[in-house]
Symmetry: C2
Subunit: 101 residues, 2 copies
């Protein structure tokens, strides 16, 4: 799997709106055949810090995701909400194997 | 869900041994009723950097995990492999909801 952790810091006044918008995007992303999981996590220590845990079957699937309408709409909507630029960390799965997602 | 991301930096010579030992621990952890997922990820940029993605149903379940034999054996075995102390980040799930894990 090609796993991306997108770290997002949101301006305080946008937390609720970011959550609504991002749940919509996550739900739509699960319909992409190359997306195995699309989890949205909120930090317990800092509620303005989120991680999008995006689990793609291949690196090509992560590129296809960026071509979807739901991603592009999400990106536009959240632009004003960012407290700082997003950062992405790339991982591969050690456990479980390819069948465990 | 009570979600813990444990960041681990391993000494280069221990990468393979760490993977073997940590897969064992992850597999055993899935038998705990309070553990919904226990993923082990390796950084694509730095193969000595791992994240353990531990998804517990409650905070109490994360405490119970630390009482298990498999956790305690893992902790002992990996002690010599650490390049620096582990750090833990705590999250809650925004999406999916409690049934999606």
């Amino acid at each position: 799997m090609y796993i991306v952790h997108v770290h997002v810091h949101v301006k305080g006044e946008y937390v609720e709106e970011f959550i609504r918008t991002t749940i919509e995007n996550a739900r739509s992303s699960l319909y992409e055949p190359g997306v195995a999981r699309f989890d949205v996590l909120q930090s317990q220590d800092d509620p303005t810090h989120f991680i999008l845990v995006e689990v793609y079957r291949t690196i090509e699937d992560s590129a296809k995701h960026k071509e979807t309408t739901h991603y592009q709409q999400w990106r536009e909507k959240v632009a004003v909400m960012m407290a700082e630029p997003r950062s992405s960390m790339k991982y591969r799965n050690i456990f479980p194997d390819e069948n465990g997602w």
